[in-house]
Amino acid sequence: EPEVTQTPSHQVTQMGQEVILRCVPISNHLYFYWYRQILGQKVEFLVSFYNNEISEKSEIFDDQFSVERPDGSNFTLKIRSTKLEDSAMYFCASSEFEVDSRNEQFFGPGTRLTVL
């Protein structure tokens, strides 16, 4: 069964460093998402992406964050200058359709980002 994959599974970085989290969505999916879950808190929407542009972003997704689909398979989340509070589990998700009846989002296993 097709699945969303994410690399790395765990990333440790120093405060102020740039990190890139990578995701490979399911191959025929067109809509891509990033969510994050700070330890002990709820899963929060960060950004959605369609047709090579951001379709919506949350207030969390400030200028330090960017997303890209550099080729036909990868979908990346970049944090330019990490802060301690960026430590969280980051989930990538994808969906095939946007219309209501078939917009199930499939989640990847997550990347645990630890900022020291």
Partner: protein
Amino acid sequence: AQSVSQHNHHVILSEAASLELGCNYSYGGTVNLFWYVQYPGQHLQLLLKYFSGDPLVKGIKGFEAEFIKSKFSFNLRKPSVQWSDTAEYFCAVNARTGGYNKLIFGAGTRLAVHP
């Protein structure tokens, strides 16, 4: 603003007990509702979903949920839990804004089932 409330943060049950996890949402438009499960060390998996039609939805592993529009609720139930159901359960609503959808999650309910 859209929001999802899960009433129980921690639930402890014995095997074979019945389970009901509450979920209420706040959203004025048409909603799609989901329950996701996160087993220890694993990623989010879809348990069940409601888009339209029969408000009683059956999912995987014997779970079901009932959409009650008048109560803005989508409670998750299972008649007899097993030790393997130990996990965190998240209710989510699909919020459509500007034509695009995103999931709004509740805070989660951590379920521990004792043998």
